[in-house]
Symmetry: C2
Subunit: 141 residues, 2 copies
């Protein structure tokens, strides 16, 4: 059940709220519809990401192709946190979440998603998880 965790935060109580990770939100559009319904393509893409960023998968990933015009969802539990993939073939959209508890080098999302999904546009946002909030964010006192 257990596996080594690169996310252990060391000894002692850090100041609160602590920064616990970084998350990337990737939204690609203009992708080729048939590729967004193709499980081997999506599996290959995610496995390449995992290998190139030296991530570590815990157990088997969850993949679910939705019926009819639906897309595919994939979830990977990582020792570094998680990777999620959702596709929307009718819209030509694929989205990814990569949440890591340790800094990782940038991955060439634009190049890879153009190459593997035919994406025309790729948007990459990053957010810090944990850490102090900012004005305007909903937060209880």
């Amino acid at each position: 059940m257990n596996s080594p965790s690169p996310c252990d935060l060391g000894q002692g109580a850090p100041p609160r709220p602590a920064v616990v990770g970084a998350e990337w939100l990737i939204d690609a559009d203009g992708c080729r519809e048939e590729l967004l319904r193709d499980l081997p393509t999506l599996t290959r893409l995610c496995e390449r990401l995992v290998a190139e960023l030296d991530l570590h998968v815990v157990g088997a990933p969850l993949w679910h192709p939705f019926p009819g015009p639906g897309g595919i969802t994939g979830l990977f539990l990582l020792t570094e946190s998680h990777l999620a993939c959702h596709t929307y073939p009718e819209s030509g959209v694929a989205t990814f979440n990569l949440y890591c508890c340790r800094p990782r080098p940038a991955w060439p999302w634009h190049d890879r998603l153009r190459e593997l999904l035919g994406a025309r546009r790729v948007r990459v946002r990053s957010v810090t998880r944990g850490g102090p909030g900012r004005a305007g964010e909903e937060a209880a006192p």
Copy 2:
């Protein structure tokens, strides 16, 4: 393998890039350390969220307690998209991602995480998935 998908986007090609979902990023700190290591507590919390928002879980959720001082990761594949939970007991932090392809009513994150994890502060951010990018975001032309 398949199940009904509330995420089908209907007939016809919507304008691109299409909005495909909403995601909430929740970061709670000041949580009770022992509760962040307690799988039944986290399971109960996620199951309550799923029930109260009328979400639909596909297959069995993935749960992974990390060894030693590590926390717990949980991933739920939903017909609505996904729910992810990570805990960091030494920092008193728990984070959640709830990604839905359809609008959902607000969940009382502050009240629930105070009640179930002893959280002292809860920060809720929301982002739109898909949709047009904004100036300042990294996007390939």
